[in-house]
């Protein structure tokens, strides 16, 4: 597209972003387009309302949770850097990259992907998914016809299954253990368009 270079010049610290996120210039340009598209009032930052305006999110059972994940620590605005950093978490993990032990953990590592999911459950941020927190999420994800009894039973079983230290809650470590067999790199990745 013609606006390619003009876009790039608008983005601050392009090299830094590339380095940090691993996105190509084309990706960043595209995402910047999207960022501006979402930013209705050209504030240069996104607000919760900007996200809530995305119609598809309203029919996503976890939509609001995910929006919240973009605004950690009660922040009300989101700049492009943070925006793209979160999205970078969903970049597919490269398979054949030789692991460099010294390199910092890539932003799209398995752990980071897991952490993103985990924080959706962990509302109060205490590092544990409590029973109540799980019930809340389950209520969102299950159809309305599920009774509270069923809901609680499912929750209890889920916790029981994952809870290794018997504290009645799921810690991040337990969360990771329970999902060991899942091909997370595949599941939690998006093929970002060029």
């Amino acid at each position: 597209m013609g606006s390619y270079s003009s876009h790039l010049s608008k983005i601050e610290d392009l090299q830094g972003i590339i380095q940090e996120t691993g996105f190509t210039k084309a990706h960043i340009c595209r995402l910047y387009d999207r960022f501006e598209e979402l930013d209705k009032n050209n504030k240069g930052t996104l607000s919760r309302e900007d996200f809530q305006r995305i119609g598809e999110l309203a029919v996503n059972p976890l939509g609001d949770r995910i929006i919240n994940a973009f605004f950690p620590n009660e922040k009300q605005t989101l700049d492009f850097r943070s925006f793209i950093r979160i999205l970078a978490c969903f970049r597919p993990t490269a398979k054949d990259k030789t692991a460099d032990p010294n390199a910092p953990e890539p932003i799209n590592s398995r752990t980071n992907k897991l952490r993103f999911a985990f924080q959706l459950y962990d509302l109060d941020g205490d590092g544990k998914i409590s029973r109540e927190e799980l019930i809340q999420v389950l209520r969102m994800m299950l159809e309305a016809q599920v009774t509270d009894d069923q809901l609680e039973s499912i929750t209890d079983r889920t916790i029981q299954e994952a809870d290794l230290d018997g504290d009645g809650a799921i810690s991040f470590e337990e969360f990771r253990k329970s999902l060991e067999n899942i091909n997370l790199e595949h599941k939690m990745s998006i093929r970002f368009l060029q």
């Binding site: 999207r34 119609g55 995910i66 019930i135 999420v137 209520r139 599920v146 329970s178 899942i182 970002f192």
Partner: protein, 970 residues
């Protein structure tokens, strides 16, 4: 039941046989007539004297013979279909197409035995002019356009390159084998072999669809195969025509230029066909724009004009199939916008009926036509090699093309998809019709070609059709791991799906298609304006068009119901508030791909697999139940529940329900958040306010929404609806420390469905419950105890919605709303704003009225007493009001029962003494209740107060419904 089923099918078969015999009679009759053509005339002459006489009844078989036989065949075919579907087991294993072919074979055998000539065969004429067009039109008209055009590249590649590849390789290879001499002496050259290749190359729409409909493949695969088979019909015909004319000219006479011409004609014919189709499609759309006053013939236009496009294209020797397909594709949007609802339904059903009927007849005649000794010539090597080559080259073609395509496709076609695609390359009636059409003069081996085609068609349809389902299943199971996913895995995986889908929506990965954006802009700017009715255009802009329509209808029926019953009681019936988000959901379609991407193959028989795995690793009953619940009731990521196209069924979108539910929940939560954040300041003010002011506020909360605040949003009503179903408070656990507390919480929480009301209740609650700080972060539960006033006001506001929709829309255009629900959101939002402003002004205004506070409190008490009285017959229980939660339940039941109300004025009159009596009787209990609920202690009840209540607008003091019912019984 099984015996019954068997009996039914036996009866069905008997019926069928009888019909078949009946069919043979006319055939026999007609053959007799032919054999003795003279007998008739002799007969006539011998009775010549009577010719002038008047026959009361005469038998004119020959007059009706043709249409009669046709009608009978159709009847047989339809009955056969009915019979097949009587027993689900049969159609589950054996595709219908196979059953029909077998039936056709049997019938053909009977006819042949009686007649010794094949009197009924599938003639190309009938096939191309009458049977094929409805099928193709149906495919085009119901084409999921978005997916089709998203995959257009792949579809075109498979359709054009794939078909050419199949044609050329099959033709050349057969020719090569022929040159080795295995096939013996055939009178055919390279061109004839290529011609045969073109005949046999195309994957048949009809055959493929019948099979693919039954194995549930994922969307991407389906649309690719569907599109391919649709378009390659056109390509095949073009290729066929080119080679046919080459053969007619003779190999020796073809010059280099002719090959070039052949290629040019290929493009001219196909692109020309598409162009004609588009023209006619738009013409059709334009016509339907003006058919408003001829509703009855409206649907006819769709069929006539589409058919005309087919004929026109055929006349111009362009690809008629492509024409009618694109005619359907182009017109669908506009036609559906223009026609009235009934006409749309008519069109849909007629379309399905014609297509389905045509398909049935085609398959049956494929069977019947095979019973004809004159067409058969057997050449084992030729037939065998044909079978081998078409299978092998299909696989090679698919794999090679997919390999190339996968570099460009976002949604990859995986190994299993390719297997299904290659194996699903069924040949069908098209090949048969084309091969029959060959000219024996030029193609001397026509009979061999015909026999081979029949064998190939039968082989692919019967053998592959039967085995594809087990194959898919087997592949699936083989590929997937045997281990049953744990609960955690299942749950979190689904969560991941949602997350990824949301991230995709946020990052806008799809729907960014440049060409499509351009097109939709062009469409909006010009095409829609020309093609659509004005009214349709307006609703087109608003994506909630159908939603609006439904509401309008609802409102009208409300009103008329109310008028009919001569009272305002219709305003009560809150329970049939019928919100439906079934409007066209364009936005959903261009959404997450990753769900498909990741699951691109695993949709195939997913449930089956899970079921089997579960059986294998059977743990305990409860575990199974839990898993089952999860399997069934977890929301599916969007995209997964989308069905595309079915020849025989009109597809309903199951996802709508889910979307509706989620949407309601989301909106509810957002509203709550908004309220708590927006009104946070107000609360603080409210805390400082004196009790009187609060009382005043409360009063106005009752009065205001009914008359002055007509803008309860529709979304809010939707919320209300679901409340009964799902008292699913998200953190009730958090609140359940004590009975008391939970009740007060429940009451105090904002109820999004009540808009202003609960907001106004809240201050009182906050005052008492001062330890509780702003609960903006928690997810409040919708209170199960609706105040009666709220219920009353709802229908009114609902009605008013339509009135006030327009003038409200401009106020707050962009606070928080999902783009496609703008209007709804705006209304709810505005209503909020209104509540707020109303309240503040009102509170100042009424602050002086000291007494008014009591009024409200009294009213609350009265309500409570009523509830209690109604639901606990025993008076002694009324006195003991310790169990407050009982009352909460009562309120819930009340809410549910509140469907049809009696005229309230009369009821109120009669009630007054009762209420007073009750209130007085239980004033101690009431007091306790009040204290618990942190209401003000009620002053002694006085009649005047009630009178004052009576003087308020009627709708704000309608007594709870069940009480009225009791009254009417008196």
């Amino acid at each position: 039941a099984e015996v019954m089923g068997r009996a039914r099918s036996v009866v069905g078969w008997v019926l069928l046989t009888a019909l078949a015999v009946l069919l043979c009679c006319p055939a026999a009759l007609s053959s007799l007539d032919e054999e003795h053509p003279d007998s008739d005339t002799e007969h006539g002459e011998s009775h010549g004297g009577n010719e002038t006489g008047f026959h009361i009844v005469s038998f004119h078989w020959e007059n009706v013979q043709t249409p009669y036989v046709i009608a009978l065949w159709i009847l047989v075919a339809s009955l056969a279909q009915t019979v097949f579907h009587l027993s689900e087991k049969v159609t589950l294993v054996v595709p219908e197409s196979i059953l029909l072919i077998v039936l056709g074979l049997i019938l053909g055998g009977i006819v042949w035995a009686a007649d010794h000539t094949a009197s009924f065969t599938l003639t190309p004429n009938v096939f191309f002019f009458y049977l094929l067009p409805p099928i193709i039109l149906d495919a085009g008209y119901f084409m999921p356009n978005q997916q089709f055009f998203r995959n257009i590249g792949s579809i075109l590649m498979y359709a054009i390159i794939g078909t050419v590849w199949n044609t050329v390789t099959t033709g050349l290879s057969l020719y090569g084998v022929f040159r080795t001499g295995i096939m013996g002496n055939l009178d055919a050259g390279l061109l004839e072999f290529l011609l045969f290749g073109s005949v046999i190359a195309a994957v048949d729409t009809v055959a493929v669809l019948t099979v693919f409909e039954e194995i549930h493949v994922n969307e991407a695969l389906f649309i690719v195969v569907f599109g391919e088979s649709l378009l390659n019909d056109g390509v095949t015909v073009v290729l066929y025509n080119v080679f046919n004319s080459f053969v007619a000219v003779g190999a020796g006479n073809i010059q280099g230029l002719d090959y070039f011409k052949g290629i040019v004609s290929f493009f001219v014919v196909s692109l020309g066909g598409i162009a004609i189709g588009i023209i006619f499609g738009f013409l059709l759309s334009l016509v339907t724009r003006f058919t408003k006053h001829v509703r009855v013939i409206e649907p006819g236009f769709v069929f006539v004009i589409s058919y005309l496009s087919y004929l026109t294209s055929d006349m111009l020797s362009l690809s008629a199939i492509l024409t009618i397909a694109f005619c359907g594709i182009c017109c669908q949007k506009y036609v559906q916008a223009n026609l009235c609802e009934q006409s749309i339904i008519t069109v849909r059903y007629t379309m399905k009926m014609l297509a389905s009927g045509a398909e049935t007849i085609i398959f049956m005649f494929l069977g019947v036509s095979a019973v004809d000794t004159t067409i058969w010539t057997w050449n084992t090597p030729f037939i065998l090699f044909t079978l081998v080559f078409i299978s092998v080259y299909r696989v090679i073609g698919v794999v090679a093309q997919t390999w190339i395509l996968n570099h460009y496709r976002v949604v990859q076609l995986e190994m299993i998809d390719q297997m299904v695609m290659s194996y699903g390359g069924l040949r069908g009636s098209m090949a048969f019709a084309l091969v029959v059409l060959l000219d024996l003069k030029h193609v001397h081996e026509k009979r061999l070609f015909v026999s081979t085609t029949i064998i190939v068609v039968y082989f692919t349809i019967i053998f592959q059709g039967l085995t594809i389902k087990p194959l898919v299943k087997w592949l699936k199971i083989k590929r997937s791991q045997q281990k049953e996913p744990s609960l955690n895995e299942k749950l979190h995986e689904r969560a991941f799906d949602h997350i990824v889908s949301a991230i995709e929506d946020i990052s806008g990965q799809i729907g960014h298609n440049y060409l499509r954006d351009k097109w939709s802009r062009f469409d909006k700017k010009y095409l829609s304006k020309i093609m659509m009715r004005k009214s349709a255009l307006i609703s087109q802009d608003n994506l909630l068009s159908i939603f609006r329509e439904l509401n309008l209808k609802d409102a009208i029926s409300y009103l008329s119901e109310g008028e009919r019953q001569g009272s305002l009681m219709f305003m009560h019936s809150s329970n049939d508030v019928n919100i439906d988000f079934t409007g066209p959901r364009y936005s959903v379609i261009d959404s997450s791909i990753s769900a498909v991407l990741r699951e691109s193959a695993s949709d195939v028989c997913l449930d089956m697999k899970a079921l089997e795995n579960r059986v294998k690793s059977l743990k305990d009953q409860e575990e199974i139940v839990t898993h089952h619940t999860l399997q069934q009731l977890l929301y599916k990521p969007r995209k997964r529940y989308k069905l595309n196209y079915s020849r025989h069924k009109l597809v309903h979108n199951e996802g709508v329900k889910q979307d509706k539910e989620i949407f309601q929940q989301t909106m509810k939560k957002r509203l709550e958040n908004l309220k708590s954040s927006k009104l946070g300041a107000n609360h603080n003010i409210a805390f400082k306010n004196t009790k009187k002011e609060k009382g005043a506020k409360k009063k106005h909360s009752d009065a205001v929404p009914n008359r002055n605040l007509p803008t309860q949003s529709l979304a809010l009503h939707a919320d209300k609806d679901t409340q009964d179903v799902q008292p699913g408070q998200l953190i009730q656990e958090n609140q359940g420390e004590s009975n008391e507390k939970s009740v007060s919480d429940v009451e105090g929480h904002y109820d999004p469905s009540d808009g202003g009301i609960s907001f106004l209740i809240t201050p009182a609650n906050n005052e008492s419950d001062e330890t509780r700080t702003g609960n903006s972060k928690s997810i409040p539960s919708p209170p199960p105890l609706p105040s009666p006033t709220t219920l009353d006001e709802k229908p009114i506001s609902r009605k008013d919605d339509h009135v006030s929709q327009e003038d409200l829309s401009s106020e707050k255009p962009s606070r928080i709303f999902p783009s496609y629900l703008q209007k709804t959101w705006m209304q709810s939002y505005t209503s909020l704003e209104n509540v707020e402003s109303q309240v503040s002004t009102v509170s100042e205004h009424v602050a002086a009225q000291e007494e008014s506070s009591t009024e409200i409190v009294l009213k609350a008490t009265v309500d409570k007493t009523e509830e209690a009285k109604l639901n606990e017959d025993d008076h002694s229980t009324q006195l003991d009001r310790e169990a407050l939660d009982v009352k909460v339940q009562c309120a819930e039941t009340l809410n549910e029962e509140l469907e049809d109300n009696c005229p309230k004025d009369a009821a109120l009159q009669e009630q007054k003494p009762l209420i007073i009596k009750d209130s007085k009787m239980h004033s101690a209990a009431a007091k306790r209740v009040q204290n618990r609920r942190s209401f003000h202690r009620p002053k002694p009840l006085r009649y005047p107060v009630l009178q004052k209540l009576g003087s308020l607008p009627v709708s704000c003091h309608i007594p709870p419904h069940s009480l009225e019912q009791e009254e009417t019984q008196f």
